[in-house]
Symmetry: C2
Subunit: 455 residues, 2 copies
Amino acid sequence: MLRMETIQYNLPQNRIPRAWYNLAADLPKPLAPPLHPGTLQPIGPDDLTPLFPMALILQEVSQEREIEIPDPVRQVYAQWRPSPLFRARRLEKALDTPAKIYYKYEGVSPAGSHKPNTAVAQAYYNKIEGTKRLCTETGAGQWGSALAMACAFFGLECKVYMVRVSYDQKPYRRALMEAFGASVTASPSVETECGRAILAEFPHTNGSLGIAISEAVEVAAKDPNTKYALGSVLNHVLLHQTVIGLEAMEQMALAGDEPDVLVGCTGGGSNFAGLVFPYLGKKIKGETSARVVAVEPAACPSLTKGHFAYDFGDTGHLTPLVKMHTLGSTFIPPGIHAGGLRYHGMAPLVSHARDLGLIEATSVQQLDAFAAGIQFARAEGIIPAPEANHAVAGAIAEALKCKAEGQGRTILFNLCGHGHFDMQSYINYQAGLLENYDYPAEEIAMALAGLPAVG
Amino acid sequence: MLRMETIQYNLPQNRIPRAWYNLAADLPKPLAPPLHPGTLQPIGPDDLTPLFPMALILQEVSQEREIEIPDPVRQVYAQWRPSPLFRARRLEKALDTPAKIYYKYEGVSPAGSHKPNTAVAQAYYNKIEGTKRLCTETGAGQWGSALAMACAFFGLECKVYMVRVSYDQKPYRRALMEAFGASVTASPSVETECGRAILAEFPHTNGSLGIAISEAVEVAAKDPNTKYALGSVLNHVLLHQTVIGLEAMEQMALAGDEPDVLVGCTGGGSNFAGLVFPYLGKKIKGETSARVVAVEPAACPSLTKGHFAYDFGDTGHLTPLVKMHTLGSTFIPPGIHAGGLRYHGMAPLVSHARDLGLIEATSVQQLDAFAAGIQFARAEGIIPAPEANHAVAGAIAEALKCKAEGQGRTILFNLCGHGHFDMQSYINYQAGLLENYDYPAEEIAMALAGLPAVG
């Protein structure tokens, strides 16, 4: 009889973290403040009240290390949290690497990604502060379906502006949001001033997250019963995701291992931050020397080719300016299939961590990301989301480096979601229809030249 | 601070069952033997060796109560087993019922349903007996993707005949099988004698499981390196699924509850058997008096309107005859979206249990099944497979009966898979494009009149 090898490290329901971890409390240098889009002066909480409930505004600027997770939020988390931590033993064998590869799997949430970690919290705080409707944007649809589900749980209406290219490529995602009772519109749309202006100029545009954010913000700002919800980038969103890393630390201890390398994919930065911020807190205190690697698409290389500067979060310039790695808010990325990574900017906290030298960044081409995803699926069974394929590719690259060097390091990556609603991209990949994109340096330079002259 | 309610009852990896439970050992009256399609005499193990490895043939006729699960199979199970058992507290509140509703969730497997429980076992036994390729059919695609995944894990080739209507309706399922490395062909196809004969007579047929089985069996019978694998109906398949009920018993004990009513959906019978057979073993011994309810689609009502008689398992009459509830092997069901339930027969063991009065059966219309699925998704977050919607509808009906009677019974149902690859059916449902089907009594009578005169 063979000895069974442990491949799944699980925690019971009562080990769901009781508090989120706030990296801001441990930063050696504070974040630059957000600026008002009109006055270009630092904004106060009151400037944000048309868009967010006060609890989230306070979290956005909090310096507390631990912020308690309300029990009704933990109660919903209990449906899929603590999420499993896997040892990828079959992938290790397939790669013939001396590395140990672990992955935290967020695809077990009912919406299929890490996004419900913040969607549930945002819906909860809005509900108790009297919001009737939440309005948001979605790229790949992971965020939109998470918020639609959270709104169904808490009895809120939900309106989603879905980036046109995803709306057309991913009818199943839209159907899921509608099954949860949400109303979904392709963006840019004729429903908003911002959408109409973009359509007048670019009638055949694929859309972008930057445009869809403008539409959702515009609607929320004009309707006192509607608030806005964002699925990434903001401090409070990244905060909510830290349950991933907090659980992972406990699970890695169960496995008797410590990560030498942490890997996550980055679009807006939230799944990456969720895994790595608790580890960065330890790194700042000198309690770990783990390398921390952000993997982004070569087609939308904000961390590797953008500037660290003040910029708008949206294309319509309705949001505050934040200091972040950006390709310029006018940047409309190519229609790659990792829709959730098609954003011109990077979360200010992730950008700041990069600026402080706490993290590294690398980029991956679309075809390499899908090749990694297929290899992962055949070894581990799970078909990753196109976004998550970037993390898989990053982890495989690290494992192969271990093999080349004869070093048995421990790699931990975040598998932030499954690709069940993204199979059209696998169909296109397997049919040879996908391309790599090297974003032309001169176009990036042009977009960056247009950055606002502040900060 | 609220008190957290437990909603997920989990077991650690070392609680994966060590043996499958074989209901045949406890039956008060033995199963009728399968008959050779040529001689109509009881078949022996040798008749099946062209199709199956000997280990599975022996399991098919075993009278042992417990059959040990090989460690390499348990090792693969460990990626998603023990699967979670949930208390559907939000659904209970939405229904305002005094009933407690529990569900065992098999959608956590990487292929998204209960099917890998047997796919992994079948691939393993074939691998150790030297099979190079497995050939099978699939309806909705749940089984085909499970077998494709299991073959990828064990290094076997995989060939899948996919029922035409599903092949056309579910490109994402096909893409998943192809991502795992399987070769997928729409059935009926021109690749087999049986397929060509059907196409000559019905060039525009939707296909059926009965036809696709004929094609897969024909290919396996003709190639010594290829064996056949079936995803339901057979005794050894149902055996492998009993991990579901064995785990559920332990989890219900954790929850401190005993089911009064067990509910599952039935097509070929395997997910239903997986949950309920361990309980039927107790029922036969007088250790439980739980009601056990099979829910089937009104469009394919084998248990509620079929005959309990000897019939072929396939349309081409290549398989042995088994005694089962059947609508006749010439029955081609309407193209309802619960593709996994479109089969003319019912597993002999499930049919036998019905004949012995151990289980009840009821049928559900397509529109009612989808309405139940949407209600479930908005309460619990998980979007069920169209097949599983039948079990959800059955469980909700039981819960509403409890409400009407003011009785607080405990209901346990099997949520055998998610609907992530079946969203087109939800799109059609929400667009009002789906219909109910009352299968005309005279057509059933005609198909039944053609049953072979044996047994």
